[in-house]
Amino acid sequence: MFSTSLAAQDGDPVNGKKLYGVNCASCHKLDKRMTGPALRNVEARLYEDEGLDRAWLNAWIKNSAGLIKSGDAYANKIYNEYNKVAMTAFPLLSDQEISDILSYTAAPKPVTTPPPPGVTNVNPGDQTSNELILGALALLFALLAGALVLVNKTLKRFADAKDIEVAIKEKGTPIWKAFVQNQFLVLVTSIIFLLASAYFVYGLFMQVGVDQGYEPVQPIHYSHRIHAGENAIDCKYCHSSARVSKHSGIPSLNICMNCHKSIGAVADATQAEGINEYGVDYNSEIQKLYKAVGWDEDTQQYTGETSPVKWIRIHNLPDFAYFNHSQHVSVAGVECQTCHGPVEEMEIMYQHAPLTMGWCINCHRETNVKVEDNAYYTKIHEELSKKYGVDQLTAAQMGGLECGKCHY
């Protein structure tokens, strides 16, 4: 308790948190074993369990390999326990900074009570008020209708009582009969009807094979919203082959593990948001990844048992259409979102564009070719600009509408 209070006294936990994030977090968590051990109250625990003091900790942090080499018993024990991976040495951390970090680790674990499942945190009041207003309105209208009926009845009774004859309107030809008898109208209507149905049938047929909005349930609930949106990871970090290949590529699982080796669970707020808004338990989805890639979280090692993920492909171009991602991404510098929509807002990926030929062609007609700083285009651009008398050339003017550019 002495040392804890000491650390609490001489360290600055706010600065410590900052330092911890920069230096320690990639291998250590406060309450969970990762590449290295959990660090909550590490100083106190070391002192109580092993009798090791601040000096030992300083030595370990600044040069753990040296400490191990010197034959220190506990250092070697830790080293062996954690797969003989020596901790990175931090010789540049000053003693003050170390005590800042330790004071951060000494902070008591915050008590979080996760909201009981099933209860939504949407304000119940809003819903009630809406229903009330609607109910009141309905009642009002009902009253009005009732009043009218009553008035009518009363008036009739008056008329009876006073022997006033109410004029009865003579019935003419019903409107539908008149319509049928008018051949011109029938003709016009049927033409309009035929045209309208042709329009809709055409529209229906043109939708065959167009899967815009296709949003299949994937084997792992992967949220582009969190990765590309909240965390702002570049698309091409995972879909790296889009730079050089015709395929954007579905990232292999080792790419996921670059981050998820350290991220075994999402933040509590995110988890709650997932359960409440999207009905998904993000943490269990991460577990699915671990299972697929064969990662044992406890030992922090790969087991070698893998089961590749069978993603369901969303964007399916027909075989006779050739599309090359690198042409658009690397050469033209087109944003991924141009075709794939607001991916950073999509909880579940869906097909944003219709992927029809008309859609492709439209873009080729409207988009200017990015010729700047590309020696390939210098001469062609100059000659074509002269020919067409324009400064900016569209993909179409460059030959981007020719059949054989995409069909071979």
Partner: protein, 1072 residues
Amino acid sequence: MSSNKKYWKSVEELNENSSIVEALQQNEFVEAIPTDEFLGDKESLESSSTSRRDFLKYVGFSTAAASLAACEGPVIKSIPYVVQPTEIIPGVANYYATTIANGYDFASVLVKTREGRPIKIENNTDAGTNGVANARVNASVLGLYDSLRVKSPMKGETAISWDTFMSETTSKLNGLSDGKEIVFLTQSLPSPSTNKLIAEFKSKYGRVRHVAYDAVSESATLDAYEARYGTRGMANYDFSKAMTIVSVGADFLGDWQGGGFDSDYSKKRIPTNGKMSRHIQFESNMSLSGANADKRVPLKPSEQKLALAKLYSYVTGNSVGSENLSEGLDAVVKAAAKELKKAGSNAVVVTGIPDVNAQTVVLDINAYLNSKAFDPETTIKTRQGSDKAVMQLVADMKAGKVGAIIMNGVNPMYTFPNASGFAEGLAKTDLSIAFSMKQDETSTNCQYIAAAPHYLESWGDIEMKAGHYSMMQPTIRPLFDTKQFQDVLLAWNGNGVSYRDYLKSVWTADILNGASFNKAVQDGVFVTRSKGNNGSGVSTIESSVTQLKDEFVTKTTATSINADGGSGSVAALSGGNAARALATSAKGSAAMELTLYTKTGLGDGQQANNPWLQEFPDPITRTSWDNYITVSKADAEANELINKNVATGGLNGSYVDVTVNGVTVPNVPVLIQPGQAKGSVGIAFGYGRTSNALKDEMKTGVNVYPLYQNFNSVQEVSIEKVSGEHEFACVQLHNTLMGRGDIIKETTLEIFNTKSKRVWNKIPEVSLNHIETPVTSPDVDLWDEFDRSIGHHFNLSIDLNACTGCGACVIACHAENNVPVVGKTEMRRSRDMHWLRIDRYYSHQDTFTEDITEKDDTDGLGLGNYLVGDREGDGSLSTFSRLEDPNDNPQVVFQPVMCQHCNHAPCETVCPVAATVHSRQGQNHMAYNRCVGTRYCANNCPYKVRRFNWFLYNKNDEFDYYMNDDLGRMVLNPDVTVRSRGVMEKCSMCIQKTQKTILDAKREGRLVKDGEFQTACSSACGSGAMVFGDINDKDSKIAALKEDDRMYHLLEYVGTKPNVIYHTKVRNTSKA
């Protein structure tokens, strides 16, 4: 005025009293249709379980279900790697250098892999050891995905595990009774590491014999070379250094001495500075070399021997005695000798006569001439088999002296002349193991089949030529449970390392001399010494006369020779005797002489299950899916053998029984071959396989290995006509050009050098306002010219001088463009799908020029004379019917034809749906998904290069070739659409490749370099005949070729302005 004419529909009407006529006037049918019998039978109708309403329900439901199912898109799954290998990016091809060495074909190649799958073989241009990849090497990638491969080791008919295999074979090898030998019967294996392994095996087990065996033997060549130079191998020839080439029976543009000489040959065939090489060919069968020769002399094999002996005598001045040649032939040989002497060291003589003396004589002549092209120092090692050793082995096997036989890469039960004798010997061995990819003729007769990997799954090393080491590396993980021969050898030797590590240690210790192993693997080739320049660095070689085989008649007096050709030593050449012996042995006989040869497509037959090669039309006969006996026209007439074209557009031919020394091969189809020497016939090896290693469709042709007695490819033969007609799948029925010199322009070197271009390469002219105007002029053009000066404008140049007709481009196109295989029946209907064909034309007169003269000299129609059967007159009817027949010894020309990508394309204007349109880059596009299959375009194409998908050729059991199984489809190029039924297709000028090149340049922000643009055919072309590029790049090779004087367009007068250009063929003949 009304007509009194009576029309009648049948003779019955002429009979006035016919009851039938009466009945027909009243009713439609003579008899009442018995509908009541069926409908009236209420009982059967009611008892039927299916009522009309039910029927309609079923129809309605199934239609609705089918249409609903069609609306639902299939769910496509994508499965990424768990850990992606760093070198693989989906969608980007990787290339690996490796080497094919299957005992018959040897070449350094680059393998294109996509997503880890090898899909195409390309040339390793940096290697250049053994020429370039030929048609068979290009097609070899398909063998990897052969659905009939052995998938695990087998004991008899049952699959076993490798553990069982190893333990059983090891104990059997150790338990062999004393005195019995272990024999390795392998293909020619010039592999340093494998030979070392076998040596280690020998030291462990003792009593081990290693016999190398070539299905098609080069034993005579090897013996002659060994006797002269002490090592077993063959002399190397560099035809790029030869200005005068005389070949006596050597098809050196084909598979002679392992092949690979054609690219060097072509270098000197293109006239530069008024010079090109001169090639004289003496041969019996019409071969690729004969077809390319400036002068071809058809000779029976026995006459060839004498001619060679005389040639020796005329060149060296040594008399060879013996009988004399016929007068005409003597003059020809003398003239050839004169030319050789005149050319001196620029001349070279080669021969393919399977006779040690003949081979020795050639070594002598070349040494005498001090030929620059002749390089005995860089020994070719790709053939090692010895006939004697093989025959000894069979004798020993039959005698029960062989305890165990281990075979690798050989199929003696098919390729052996006496297969039953081999089988008898095989039965007497205690242990027989065949390393094989197939359950073929041999492996099924062995106790164990060791499932061997394809060469694209294997490690290995090959010393193709002395000092030229090639590396073989796997390009894919083994598809099946296979182990390569060397790995099993290591296990038998008790060596725990893998073959890859062993290979590395051998290379590091013996070959690399400090160089990097990884670099060698990456390059695929490692050369320890530069190519020796003959005549300067060759030391005196002790001729191992004492070791000469006893049948080697030349008991020479020479003890040493000096290949320097230094003064004095020449007279002492052993060949003086060899030539005399050769002359003596060349006793002409009246009997028919057979020359067995190998076809460009199938070679020795080990790739017979390869549909690309089966469908590949032979460059000479243009016939696919068959072998046949080639006979001369005179011999055919004498034996009443016929070839005829039938109404369906197919070629039919007679059958003969072929007998050699009492062995008869029955029912061999006859093909009349222009240029075949009278009194000689030829049949190709490689066909007629019957084992289950082949799909039924591939079991074509006849097996003539039984005629290959004593491994001698020249045999006396008797043929006898038998009944029946054979149906050939021949894709070219018109054999001559009919004097149409504008299809293939050609001239002689003399005229080419002395006259202006207007004489020998005149642009056709048409009359414009009574003024002759060249068709290229815009004034006579119907069309407005489109401006193609901006961006790329692709042209493909084809030099008819350099093209040898080897067909590598045809197979490369097959692989690159997913061209389907249609099978023999469809080929016979001219429904072949090859995007690229190589037309072969024969001359009617001695030369094509005379054909043109004959055509131009026609006078009137000559109908009267024609009708009375006169074919000699000069009326055009008689002349043209005459011109259809090729000469007995014609000039031959090859012309690769693919879509000409016309700038004014006739196909484009007739397409009703605009499925074929033109691009700014000069390519004629074909949008398959737009095509509705009217075939107007094919009808309107003057070059007949469009191909129609009459059927669905993939996933269709009617076309059970590689596209019908999952394994075979792995070879498909993912960048090219697989076409469906009912659409037209054609050469795209490899637009997927040009687009990729452009994209790479764009991504790297640079201009495209000259030579970067390639089509599949141009990159497969080793002879330099095909050059592809962008003519808007004024400094490019293609731009220069376009301006070349020899340049012309095919059918220029049609005015299509093609983007494929041809170069006038120049023949090095004095005769015009």
